[in-house]
Amino acid sequence: MKPPQFGYSRPLSVAEALADLAAAAPDGKVLAGGQSLLPLLNMRLAAPAHLVDINRIAELGYATVDDGEVVIGALARHAQVLADQAVCRAQPLIGQALALVAHPVIRNRGTTVGSIVHADPAGEMTAVLALLGGSVLLEGTGGKRLVKAKEFFHGPLESDVGPDELATQVRVPVLAARAGCAFAEVSRRHGDYAVCGVAALVELDDGGGIRRARAAYLSVAGTPLVLDLTEAGADVAAAARLAMAQVAPTADIHATAAYRRHLAGVLTERALAGALAHARERSGG
């Protein structure tokens, strides 16, 4: 249970990191918090030829609210983002989701951008990015590109990041007025990977009716699945039936496909009811 051998560098700036990644491509890998990468290395499931350790690039350790978006830098730890009141006020779904990411000690080290780039379909933050329609800024020696969530996730542990690119920041819109959000998940033990999880976002119209309702699902597909549940209105049970008809989970050692579908329904009800209550509270009843 030791990592395989690899070349290593610890650049002090983004420009240096990009040069190192370009030199190591296509077998380089970025090391940020390492809470997913180190287990993969220790279990020999990954064997990159070179690690570019970005932990010295202090300029990437930020989380801010800027012009209607929450912007999170590549080295912002989960714990830091979760403790940032301005960020969690601007987009409460971030705080709701981060509280469910692993355990406090893992959150001390793991980075929010890193867990999105890792693209684990059981990852809470991948669902947040997908539901909110956020984007990831990728930088390479050839330039920058901003990739929308919809195009970012390719499959389990596969994202749009090229071998010579560094995801330097993630951007998600702040929560709109008259909108509410909630996160619900079921895991075997608190802090474990979710067997199923649902992030919900509800926007109310001026009359208090549902203008738009959407939910994102963890662990039911290879990439975060986003469903539009607006047609069910405020009937969360109907929304749950709608969701169950549309998810197509597979079985693994943790749960059968039928159990996952059942959870998708139950958790849709819980998350939507929570988001609805949150939206009503924010629009003053």
Partner: protein, 214 residues
């Protein structure tokens, strides 16, 4: 291509050794290790501090938890080269220089929070850091604090009790420290002497406390 000895340390040779400097439990230590060496292995094999236990080596069990710059982390999920320059506290560093147990250690003894002891170093470090952040946890918060540590003996109930007991002991120690500072102040002892006389609780006191004492 730069050698491994510059700050950036770019090397494509996996055999290259890196000089890693750490301050472990207040003592400066160095080791020459390959990039792939885990912090847990540097502590145990290179520095011979075997108090840090290694259970699963993939971040699940929490036995290897140490404090890096005061923050609890899994030492099996951190490369030693990444930690270069950091202050590290292991379970060996929790005991006071005179051998007195820390509040968390004392609480584990008081509440029978351990049986075989394999997981205990990880619990002690995790709880020590958590009480710095939240000195008065509720029982629910105590369970959240230890949620990432596995114990196969105790069934956790006594560990939860130990978290709450440790918070009491720690608060009592802080109160005693403040009381002693107040007595010394009344006796006309100057600030510099007062700081020197600050017994044992110095590490856990905030700058604001020191201000108040001076």
């Amino acid at each position: 291509m730069a050698s491994a000895n510059d700050e950036r340390g770019f090397t494509q040779s996996p055999a290259e050794l890196f000089e890693v400097s750490l301050v472990v439990n207040g003592v400066p230590r160095t080791a020459r290790v390959p990039a792939r060496r885990l912090l847990s292995d540097v502590l145990r094999h290179d520095l011979l501090l075997t108090g840090t236990h290694v259970g699963c080596e993939h971040g699940v069990c929490g036995a290897c938890t140490v404090l890096v710059d005061g923050v609890a982390v899994r030492s099996c999920l951190m490369l030693a080269v990444t930690a270069d320059g950091a202050q590290v506290t292991t379970v060996e560093g929790l005991t006071r220089p005179d051998g007195t147990l820390s509040p968390v250690q004392q609480a584990f003894a008081d509440c029978h929070g351990l049986q075989c002891g394999f997981c205990t170093p990880g619990f002690l470090t995790t709880i020590t850091a958590a009480l710095e952040e939240n000195p008065q946890p509720s029982e629910t918060q105590a369970r959240e604090i230890i949620g990432g540590n596995l114990c196969r003996c105790t069934g956790y109930q006594n560990i939860v009790k130990a978290v709450l007991r440790a918070a009491e002991l720690r608060a009592g120690e802080l109160r005693a420290g403040e009381q002693r500072a107040g007595e010394l102040r009344a006796a006309g002892v100057q600030a510099a002497e007062l700081r020197a006389a600050d017994w044992g609780t110095g590490q856990s006191r905030s700058p604001a406390d020191s201000e108040a004492a001076s």
